[in-house]
Amino acid sequence: MKWFIPLFLVASLVFAAEPIVIGVYEPMTGPYAAGGQMTMEGVYLAHEQVKEVLGRPIQLVLVDNKSDKVEASNAVARLIEYHKAVAIIGSYGSAVAIPGSEVANKLGVPMVGCSPTNPLVTLGKPFAFRVCFIDPFQGTVMAQFAVEKLGAKTAVVIQDIASDYSVGLSHYFQEAFKKLTKNNKSVLGVISYQTGDQDFTAQLTFANSKNPDVIFIPAAAYGEAALIIKQARELGMKQIFLGGDTWEAPEFLQVGGKAVEGSYFSTHFDTEATTTPKAAQFIKSFREKYGKDPSAFAALGYDAYMLVVDAIMRAGKPDPKAIKDALASTKNFEGATGYITLDQNGDAIKDAVIRVVKDGKFVYVTTVRPTE
């Protein structure tokens, strides 16, 4: 086999001149930085494992979108026009993923979202896909969990009026909660705050006066969610708090401390509840590289990269249009977060995982399957 190595080297030298570029736009700075950085851990790991496709090396180009919309659309335009990316991965935060997907769709390059859950990321855009579930499902999951598992009959929602994620998820939760409790008045109140607020005592005192069974906090920033719960406990409130996938960050536990114990949230992935053989392998190599457990965002970043590479392989050529067609026909792709099948909108139909905070850690509770 010794002859093989020089041959391989020669071959790689020949092709090294022509790498296939996969572009990534993620928020590395700004309010969504934590999400972007967690996602990149997964993307880098995946890139380390699969460095070439179709016999050509893959060049990964990351452009920071600063958690900003204008920057996001510039970033995607730059990836496509300047770096000649054949496919785009990104971004954490629907608010920045949407302008990116608009540009990618217009320029005819496929984009695979890791964790943006707002329906509009892919809606009406044939070139936009994602490897996560969407908010109508996520809102329903949490409502279902609250009603069926926690026996909740009433709820109050505290939403961030300046965040699209928050307002969207809040809406879907309320709809599902009213339907499941068969009571149009089961949501006792919806009260708003604004991104950047740090004091929620007024909202919480209001919520407490309604005395609901559960309080749903679809905060776009985990820090705000942690502060809300912390201040609620300081006001002596005993209600159970529920939230969405943004809560999953180590800082949520640090800021919230003891106060966030016993709060539930929905997310995409849990090391305890994996459904694919690939997941075990992913968790193992992630622990080796980073010395910690992977977050859901890292797992989704990993899956997005692997799915893009797989689609390039299936397309047989690094041509954006062919890759888009290959992506659209994705069925039962084995990822770390589960088997991924993309529907006609390009959204993944996947299970949601419910986790709880216990002894300062995120602990697996249950898995909810999509019903439809």
């Binding site: 700004g30 009260i191 705050y193 607020d197 004091d199 007024a202 006066s209 960050a249 800021v255 401390g257």
Partner: protein, 292 residues
């Protein structure tokens, strides 16, 4: 609304009001003496939190030492910002120093992003202060009580400083006219340096109490309190210390009471605050306690 509920809201309002007030008096001091809108004040505030954070995590100082260390470092930072960014522009048109302030604010925010990282970090909370007090059915944080005490102390100290000391006399002279003050034999540079040192220390103190109450810190954390403090200083009247305290208190109280009494309009809260500002200024164009 029941009586206890109202009292709880009132307690919340007082708590938030004093937090804003404390931030605002530091803002207004520099503003009043140097006549410079220090847009970087909020970012000096942010840096103070990171000094505490690194004092505890990097040098394993006890928390109280870390606080003192941060106040000291922040004062130094304030002085050096004045030397680098404001002093060279003292004779330039006013707008240049405003720009310099905006630029400094950008610089500090981006410096923090690169050096400290953009993610929110948890601020250390000493067990001693992390307690809840029950007064009847009303619950108040111990930190809040301490904040109120510190605010009043800071207010009294500043009043003493400005109206009873020689340095205060110099500061008041400067606030009217630099050139006249210089002619009267006042060391303008030294007075301004001193003002910045005091203003920045106050920023650090308010930042620490802010972070004890809202324990997450990140590079852009100063933007929101900074604008609130600026608004409070304007409502109270430029350079008026008691005005800034009143302005901050009003903003805090209105923020809470609007949500309490009109929960459906909670989303419009900031619009109400600015409407109030516009009305105050239309009837009193120089703020509540400002001089014409």
């Amino acid at each position: 609304m029941s009586w206890t509920l109202f009292l709880q809201h009132l307690a919340n309002g007082i708590a938030l009001g004093f937090v804003f007030g404390l931030v605002a008096i530091g803002y207004t001091l520099v503003y009043g003496v140097v006549k410079l809108v220090n847009f970087a004040h909020g970012d000096i505030f942010m840096m103070a939190c990171f000094f505490v954070y690194y004092g505890i995590t990097l040098f394993s100082f006890p928390w109280w030492l870390s606080f003192v260390f941060a106040v000291f470092l922040t004062a130094l930072l304030g002085i050096s910002i004045e030397k680098v960014a404001y002093k060279p522009l003292r004779d330039a048109p006013r707008i240049s120093s405003l720009c310099s302030a905006i630029g400094m604010s950008f610089l500090l925010e981006n410096f923090a992003t690169v050096v400290f990282g953009g993610r929110q970090k948890a601020f250390y909370q000493p067990q001693v202060l992390n307690k809840t007090l029950n007064i009847g059915e009303i619950r108040i944080q111990l930190v809040t009580i301490v904040t109120i005490v510190v605010s009043i102390a800071a207010l009294l100290f500043l009043n003493y400083l400005v109206y009873k000391t020689k340095m205060g006399l110099a500061m008041r002279a400067l606030s009217h006219d630099f050139d006249t003050a210089r002619l009267m034999g006042i060391n303008v540079d030294r007075t301004i340096t001193f003002t910045f040192a005091v203003g920045s220390s106050l920023a650090a103190i308010s930042a620490i109490f802010w972070a004890l109450r809202y324990p997450q810190i990140w590079p852009f954390m100063g933007v929101f309190p900074g604008w609130r403090a600026f608004t409070a200083a304007i409502i109270g009247g430029v350079g008026s210390i008691k005005g800034a305290m009143t302005g901050g208190f009003l903003i805090g109280m209105i923020s809470i009471m609007l949500v309490a009494f009109l929960p459906d309009l909670a989303g419009y809260r900031d619009a109400f605050i600015f409407m109030m500002l516009v009305f105050v200024l239309l009837f009193r164009p120089t703020g509540l306690f400002g001089e014409a």
